[in-house]
């Protein structure tokens, strides 16, 4: 579930507050948003790819929180890693035309 909003990366655009389907964040004036309802997070990773600053980190454990530091996420180059895998950049969509899933489906038969 959502674990980290990096205050050093966050540009306070509040896009995550708007787009989170589970309403996990609350906006705070003149500051980064806060994770207000962590347990509602559905671990869909969508906030990460919508974030124009790669400031969010969703940990892989969906059943509850786990402890990971911003320093570790930074050091392992995990901020924005899912967006890069998709071909999204700075919160902008892209990359569907390069999706090789049709090859997987042929192989799966």
């Amino acid at each position: 579930m959502i674990e980290i909003i990096s205050e050093t990366r966050c540009i306070e655009c509040d896009i995550c507050v708007k787009i989170c389907p589970a309403n996990v964040f609350d906006a705070v004036s003149d500051s980064a948003p806060i994770i207000a309802r962590q347990d509602d997070c559905q671990t869909c990773y969508l906030c990460e790819i919508y974030c124009p600053a790669d400031a969010l980190y969703v940990a892989h454990r969906a059943d509850g929180p786990l402890s990971i530091t911003e320093a570790e996420v930074e050091q392992r180059n995990l901020f924005g890693s899912y967006a890069r895998a998709l071909g999204w950049k700075r919160g902008k969509a892209g990359g569907t035309e390069n999706d090789p899933t049709h090859r997987i489906r042929v192989a799966a038969v």
């Binding site: 589970a22 559905q42 969906a62 895998a85 969509a93 090789p100 049709h102």
Partner: protein, 543 residues
């Protein structure tokens, strides 16, 4: 809470009018809104979350059931029908593949970038969830639809004859909303019983309860036995990579089937062996059947499947990783609101249904439609329901909006007895989950176990109905708890009525099909349930 949280102080309710109100912002809701707007209807779409990220599709990458026009079309449908446990309806299947194909081409014309195959042909049989739903949002806004994000619906409104709108709460501004509409489309998705799977936060069966309160029936609710493999404790309920997996016990020894062969390919018949092993203890997997080209396609084509592994520091092609089977309720099950007409009407005047909120038995019978069939169904049923609702709104155009609309919501909003503040929504959901999530109760079913679950859920329902109460935005949670409890109760009652095994309804005490059960199980009612079987040969309504 910190005092500088950005919250509107306004508590004035939002009151709007529309020709068509669409509840839900997944693919079926988006297509419904587009279809109704194309017919000139004034459309409002209200979503619990955000149109673009809500629902089971947005976080995923889904195939479509894509059957091009031509001579092979009938055969493709016939072949698929053979796998549906005899409960699907070929007329609906044919019209669905045709409508979905048309709409997939529309997506391409509108500028959604599909990949190309090696021969240069566009490949339209796959949609990447985040991109697809973001694209649909833009399209819906461009069509002039009013979109209300973070506006969960709590209940339908009725004038006694027809559904006349819905009301709910704007959860980010803490104010009530209501929309008077000439027709309402329920595109609220299925019920995942609060399992932590992709998209499931919002998929709590709200539409089922709202529809039942309005007098609609449900069908196929026993088909909630679909589970999908996921890395342990993660949300990634995507089975495709396990096509190339082998499976192991906790001591590292290979998982063997009844013939002593090692279990591999976890998305076919071997799934039952994995389910049995998971009841006995932890199970591990490794994607070691995928050669290197395939590894690359999997990583680039299904990147979210690898996010949990990368973050856990695991190479799933080389390392063993612990797995689980995640329950998927009616999301990849097939049950839902019964369709009464070809335009996805529910039989209640003014109320239409689309996507996973509707029963998908017409399409896929007793087996899961997986991502692909459900995806095409969302496109087609969304389209038909939007057209149906727009047509209905024109017919009732001469009727002025009536002031006699009454709210229909009961459980979780208006308790029949004393409100009990100690009755918590989260506890109710936990109690429901104890009956409908464990593999030993819901994957492998038995009459005695179902009977016990049914009694527990009945008692729980009495508590919910008589005592569950909340106010303000907390009503969203109390209604979700009520909807989850109602969905489980319908599911177990229907499973008891299907005294045989068929598709994902696996009764250990009744192995094998019984020809007399090649019919739909229909359940109606909220407090007092009525169960019936469809007439033979009348499975597909209006066929």
């Amino acid at each position: 809470m910190s005092p500088n949280l950005v919250k509107s102080a306004s508590s004035d309710p939002l009151q709007l009018q529309a020709d068509v109100l669409v509840l839900g912002g997944g693919p079926s809701g988006a297509w419904a809104a587009l279809a109704a707007a194309e017919d000139g209807a004034r459309v409002i779409l209200a979503d619990k979350g955000y149109l673009g990220t809500s629902g089971a599709t947005a976080p995923s990458n889904t195939g479509t059931w894509c059957v091009p026009p031509g001579e092979n079309r009938g055969q493709a449908v016939e072949r698929r029908w053979q796998r549906t446990g005899g409960l699907a309806d070929q007329r609906w299947m044919l019209r669905c593949v045709d409508q979905a194909y048309d709409n997939l081409l529309k997506l391409s014309e509108w500028g959604y970038l599909f990949p190309h195959e090696d021969d240069g042909q566009l490949y339209i049989a796959n949609l990447r969830g985040p991109d697809y739903m973001r694209f649909m949002r833009r399209r819906v806004l461009k069509a002039g639809v009013t979109v209300l994000d973070h506006h969960p619906a709590l209940e339908l409104l009725s004038d006694g004859d027809a559904v006349t709108g819905a009301s709910g709460v704007d959860r980010q501004r803490n104010r009530n909303w209501s929309v008077e509409a000439k027709a309402v489309v329920l595109a609220t998705g299925g019920c995942a019983f609060h399992e932590r799977i992709l998209g499931a936060t919002g998929l709590t069966g709200d539409g089922y309860l709202m529809a039942a309160e309005a007098g609609a029936n449900l069908s196929g609710m026993e088909f909630t036995g679909k589970y999908t493999l996921a890395p342990f404790e993660t949300s990634l309920n995507k089975g495709l990579p396990y096509r190339w997996a082998t499976f192991y016990r906790e001591d590292g020894s290979p998982l063997l089937d009844a013939n002593g062969d090692q279990v591999s390919n976890g998305i076919g018949e071997r799934e039952k062996d994995i389910a049995k092993a998971l009841i006995e203890g932890p199970v591990y997997a490794r994607l070691d059947q995928a050669e290197s080209a395939l590894q690359d396609w999997l990583r680039r084509g299904q990147p979210n499947c690898f996010v949990p592994h990368d973050r856990a520091g695991i190479d799933p092609f080389k390392d063993l990783f612990r797995i689980t089977l995640r329950a998927e309720g009616t999301v990849r099950g097939t049950g839902g609101i019964m369709l009464a007409t070809s335009d996805c009407g529910t039989g209640v005047p003014g109320l239409y249904v689309a996507g996973d909120a509707a029963s998908r038995e017409n399409m896929t019978g007793a087996v899961s439609g997986g991502g692909a069939v459900n995806s095409s169904w969302a496109i087609a049923s969304g389209w038909w329901s939007g057209k149906g609702a727009a047509t209905h709104s024109r017919k009732s155009a001469r009727k002025a909006f009536r002031s006699v609309s009454k709210p229909l919501g009961e459980a979780g909003l208006r308790p029949s007895g004393n409100a009990r503040r100690d009755l918590r929504s989260a506890d109710i959901i936990d109690a429901v989950r104890a009956e409908v999530i464990p593999l030993e109760k819901n994957y492998f079913r038995q009459g005695t176990t179902l009977q016990t679950s049914g009694e527990r859920l009945e008692n729980l329902w009495q508590d919910v109905r008589q005592h569950l109460y909340a106010d303000g935005p907390e009503r969203v949670r109390s209604r979700e708890a009520a909807s989850i409890a109602a969905s489980a109760r319908w599911s177990v009652a229907s499973a008891l009525a299907r005294d045989e095994s068929r598709g994902m309804h696996r009764r250990l005490d009744r192995p094998g099909n019984d020809l007399s059960f090649a019919r739909r199980i229909i359940v109606g009612g909220v407090d007092n349930l009525s169960i019936s079987r469809s007439e033979p040969g009348r499975e597909g309504i209006a066929s």
